[in-house]
Symmetry: C2
Amino acid sequence: MLRIVLDAMGADNGIAPVVDGLLSSLENKNFHALLVGDELLLKPFVDSKHLPNAILQRIQIVHTNDFMQMTESASIANKRVDTSIYQAIQLLKKGEADACVSAGHSGATMSLATLQIGRIPGVSRPAICTCMPTITSNPSIILDAGANTDCKPEYLLDFAIMGFHYAKKVLGYSSPRVGLLSNGEEDSKGNELTKEAFKMLKHYDFFKGNVEGSDIFNGSVDVIVCDGFMGNLVLKASEGVASSIGIILKEQVRKSFFSMFGYLFMKQAFSSLKKKIDYAEYGGAPLLGVKKPVIVSHGKSNARAIECAIYQAVVGCETMVCDIIQEAFNQNK
Amino acid sequence: MLRIVLDAMGADNGIAPVVDGLLSSLENKNFHALLVGDELLLKPFVDSKHLPNAILQRIQIVHTNDFMQMTESASIANKRVDTSIYQAIQLLKKGEADACVSAGHSGATMSLATLQIGRIPGVSRPAICTCMPTITSNPSIILDAGANTDCKPEYLLDFAIMGFHYAKKVLGYSSPRVGLLSNGEEDSKGNELTKEAFKMLKHYDFFKGNVEGSDIFNGSVDVIVCDGFMGNLVLKASEGVASSIGIILKEQVRKSFFSMFGYLFMKQAFSSLKKKIDYAEYGGAPLLGVKKPVIVSHGKSNARAIECAIYQAVVGCETMVCDIIQEAFNQNK
């Protein structure tokens, strides 16, 4: 049976959404869960749920005294051997788990995954790969979404190769199209970094050229490649636009009785929209380029987001995405 | 009387939105317009409007044979002396106009403004300054929105100083707050470029530290500073999110009679939202750092966007924003 290790500590809203998300996922998928964190907190919480035996016996609490605070620097993560994320990554490293999910300190998770699990040979830098909603029925993925602030052109090439294989294997796209995030679609567009990366990428069939910020959402490509600084900016700006539109619209609705009346009838449409653009539905973000599946979840994850992140971990194992990436880098780089 | 030169050629939808926007602005503001472009196109179009004399006598058509095509490289703009934008910039340079507005080739406009009008002494690079809607009643401005793809830290400092004075003088904010676009709010966040720029900016009272992509829209700062590559990405991604939300919501509405019914009652709220986030209402984007007011408009500008861009040019002249910037760079840099 598949074994998923879940870091229960350090998320913004405590253990509740993490454990609740785990319980939902255990109802739908048959796997064994290693729940790493403070047993004094976790055990009473799990017990309070009065779970059926069939689920309870698939949860094993692994006690740790310590966890990484969000305010701490990721650079100390590798010395803090008693933290929940350090122990979770150790279980993955020793082969006692098949994949790891954490909504704790994301810098620590990335750092420990890279240092302890190790990079796939040939991969210059692991990258955070985030799913984005599009106006089509297929989401796009963007990488790097934040792991590498300053990149060299060859990193972007590696992100493209990893993203291509992830989209093909995990998302099931038959021939994923990869675009390079730039300030215009013409080949000549770009900054120093992307112009150099473009020269490397143009030799690959999957590469469809430069794309613009709006192409993330219109489905014109499946994989968008950029450095982690840009990826972070674009994700946060996009979240900001979506939430601002919600706030402005609510303000307008409150101003008129007619609008409020209309809003009631549109509620279903709004909730479908919300579901489509809700980050929770896309779960966490895999850290591609390390030897085993590691899923980094948002610190603010609700139970649904944790549940979806666990499904991503399961699919990551089932599709053997790390082996696929390893093979790709063995072969044609 | 104020004299505004308007490049009538090269916009994506031809002369109609440009001239229509001009006519609306002439009804509301008392200025003299120099309309530069093909007289054979412009004169019949203006005549067909049967304008009152009070407006007609404030329009002077300046004939040019040629114009920059959107597909041409900006690098040839300075040799193409018969183009409408070259002639428009010449009128500004020679003092026959007080400000210039163009919805044609933006690269050519920026290049000619810099080469022919010249930079304000002390300004390392001119920057495109774009207004963004926020959830508050005050828009924010972001610069550079696309003029400089690769930047040095000192350029970002200059953008901050120019943005501060623009927000104070033109937007009328009493003490504009300036933020540096980064991948986190902590002082330690950033890429190589922004970390260096942060060190320079922290000596200025107006500087409020690093801001994230979402801060563009939440009103937490008034001026957002970044390089032109990031600015372009963030703007286009934001447009993409807004238009995708519209498309997804329409799809959902079409699926149910109840939603369609509700939509009718909410129409006023949607149109207020649309107006608030419509780029047209924010007009064009001033190119800050050149000696005279130059407004770069979107190639796809509709008449309302051109009208607003002309108002920006008028306010730019009335508030003497170029002189203010010049003074700032004389004094404290």
